[in-house]
């Protein structure tokens, strides 16, 4: 692996969304005299893939029924296509009959497939919100967190999206739900149980090199890459 990654670029600044500021909270029929109604989010995300720069899959969430073989094929081809993109290219590409929205955060690619009528810009927001959630949960999240706690990454995603649609726009609510579920796990298990890992376990990073965290240059931890 090449030593020393170039300084990554994510979004220029973290949008400071309050809990209610997320763009697609909807205002209902009582719209008169209130803030202008916001649009509904992108519908029918078909799948989301997370993979490293070497093409290793870190998370796969499929919202459409496909055979294992088809999933593998799609993953393989899409990973190749996205990895071949140059850094300055735009985040959208057309692939088969889908629109692909992708963004790289440090060493991880977040890649979503949406349908033709969907709004690409909102999908970028969705990806960013997911990264923010991970960051809040793991504290300065990096790829290793996703590797060693992959099931947590799924749980967080499942509190944010349901059936390919956004279910909760409030960061606070999502994280609260996860906390509660984690608590429930601890209560039902004695602490020696292996699958629980609420938050950071410093143990997992002992041997492996640490890569830069996914967001926030000020929060990055870099150790020498062995």
């Amino acid at each position: 692996m090449p030593a020393g990654f170039p300084p990554h670029s994510t979004t220029a600044s973290l949008p400071q969304h309050g809990d209610r500021g997320f763009p697609f909270a909807a205002a209902a029929a009582a719209a008169a005299g209130q803030a202008p109604p916001r649009p509904r989010p992108a519908a029918a995300m078909q799948f989301m893939l997370l993979f490293s720069r070497q093409g290793k899959l870190r998370l796969q969430k499929w919202y459409v029924p496909l055979s294992d073989k088809e999933k593998k094929k799609i993953t393989r081809e899409l990973v190749q296509t996205v990895l071949a993109r140059k850094p300055k290219m735009c985040s959208f590409l057309e692939w088969r009959d889908l629109k692909i929205v992708y963004k790289r955060y440090a060493s991880l690619y977040f890649c979503c497939a949406i349908e033709d009528q969907d709004n690409e810009l909102i999908t970028l927001e969705i990806i960013h919100r997911y990264v923010e959630l991970l960051d809040k949960y793991f504290g300065s999240v990096c790829e290793l967190d996703i590797i060693f706690n992959f099931e947590k990454a799924y749980f967080i995603l499942d509190e944010f999206l349901l059936g390919g649609e956004v279910q909760e726009t409030s960061k606070k609510n999502v994280l609260k739900a996860i906390e509660q579920a984690d608590l429930l796990q601890e209560v039902s298990d004695p602490p020696t149980s292996a699958s629980q890992s609420a938050g950071i376990t410093g143990v997992s990073h002992r041997i492996q090199p640490i890569f830069m965290s996914l967001i926030g240059e000020s929060k990055c931890r870099e150790k020498s890459i062995g």
């Binding site: 909807a26 719209a31 290793k56 959208f92 088969r96 709004n119 059936g163 997992s204």
Partner: protein, 720 residues
Amino acid sequence: MVVPSLKLQDLIEEIRGAKTQAQEREVIQKECAHIRASFRDGDPVHRHRQLAKLLYVHMLGYPAHFGQMECLKLIASSRFTDKRVGYLGAMLLLDERHDAHLLITNSIKNDLSQGIQPVQGLALCTLSTMGSAEMCRDLAPEVEKLLLQPSPYVRKKAILTAVHMIRKVPELSSVFLPPCAQLLHERHHGILLGTITLITELCERSPAALRHFRKVQILRLLRILGRNHEESSETMNDLLAQVATNTDTSRNAGNAVLFETVLTIMDIRSAAGLRVLAVNILGRFLLNSDRNIRYVALTSLLRLVQSDHSAVQRHRPTVVECLRETDASLSRRALELSLALVNSSNVRAMMQELQAFLESCPPDLRADCASGILLAAERFAPTKRWHIDTILHVLTTAGTHVRDDAVANLTQLIGGAQELHAYSVRRLYNALAEDISQQPLVQVAAWCIGEYGDLLLAGNCEEIEPLQVDEEEVLALLEKVLQSHMSLPATRGYALTALMKLSTRLCGDNNRIRQVVSIYGSCLDVELQQRAVEYDTLFRKYDHMRAAILEKMPLVERDGPQADEEAKESKEAAQLSEAAPVPTEPQASQLLDLLDLLDGASGDVQHPPPLDPSPGGALIHLLDLPCVPPPPAPIPDLKVFEREGVQLNLSFIRPPENPALLLITVTATNFSEGDVTHFICQAAVPKAPLRLKLRLTYDHFHQSVQEIFEVNNLPVESWQ
């Protein structure tokens, strides 16, 4: 089994520590064996840990099907940890193709009705991710109950699960429609969000549901509502305008809202003013520093350019700026949009920009750009001279990327513009002198020099600076083309014929030409050899006819596919046969006649043998109207190509008023379900014996297909 099983994180570390693929496989296989054993033993305490490890291994691409049943057991367990991992496993390992998936229906039902909220959440999540149609039908009542439960956490999930269910089983719309009205009055964001989604889904599926929601003013919903509904669209106009002007665009989120507004405006029957507003928003997007925003703007403007052409025109300068983008997907969009914006008033300026783009654009855009420019030039050329200049420029810059008919088009164009013959030949001569590698350019130049060589040498032409060219230079250039390894055989043919024509146009003593012609009489290329031998014979035995034969070409009429096919013929066949396919012109038939005379045994079988060898006789024959030949027997159709549902048929007709003519119609049919796009069919007919060579290129089932084949089994009747 006394050995304690590995913790999940330890396994991950071990896998990552493997130095080779083989080592990794070994570690994983060993662990999977343990996991399998553990499953067999039915150890309930560590089952979740084992499954979690299996899920990790599955993500790396290894088989994990033996964990499917364990998912069921874990889901059925009462421990929350078990359920959490079990449901995750179900989502990753089970799908509706496996019969096993139905087995979790019961567990889900129990969890939905009796579980605590987090458990209900897990069940709903799983159902909405992998629920098949049967599962959805079975569990609809449970989900419906949860829609009106007090807890917002569960309700929002239930709503979105309902969305999934409606997508799987549209009949369930009737179940989920009634609660919607109440749900809309909720304050909780998550619930509202889900409800909007649900309503949208309902409306998309059944127009009858629309009645209930006309007053709802949510943008995406508006789009669907307004799609074919005048009244709704009108109410929305003001609102959309308001949103468009009041949205803060300093962040991407604001731009996303604006973009959604634009999409909505585009989809509903909005007032003209609103559409202009949408176009202007997109125009502003084009100036945004964020590449992604520019991309969606270009894509959307392309959709609008047909319907709101003048509004989009106003942003033409910005669009043209985008041609300079470094990102290829952006510059491609900009190219498409720019070509769509060309009209008769801006054609000169646009062509300048596009030609500049052609010189520097990435190679995969060259062909599209070149053909776009040529098409636009054909439609909007202000003057013939400008047209010729434009084509010339394209041929010089991107000669290898132009379509095959560019040569024919240009020669046609030049031939028809008599006042520009001198100008054209001079420009082409200059271009050729600089570069003989671009084949289409070389072919056109050679043809021109051959036809109008006298004008080239004549001296001044007003429109270009005076150029003194002498005969030897011209001949030397043509010889250079002949000898160059870069020249295609067709190009050589052009050059040789041009040389031959010059023998009548120039004043010199033709020795040089005769020499070249006789040398090529032993050329290995059969086509060239044949020509050279013919020309040589012309010099030696039929010199008195040479001037007549090599006269200036009459203009070939371009009137439809037949002419096109014949124009293509000229590329491969002898150039003299360019005149051949128009036998109604007496002059041409005279040539034709003489060809028969010259060719002798290799006579063109396409032309009826009874033609009288003497010129006068042929003329009389053709003009001899009272002589009505018997109606020819109909020639059977011929299927010549079939691939994956795409078929090509030939049908033959001899028009009764002109039996010398054979009309071949090529019909292409697509019987398959997939669309065929970018279909190009080209035909070439070498002179003798009668053969037909076809070349097809098209896109089908997302693949590029190219086929070249010869039709050897033409029906016998077509030969006569």
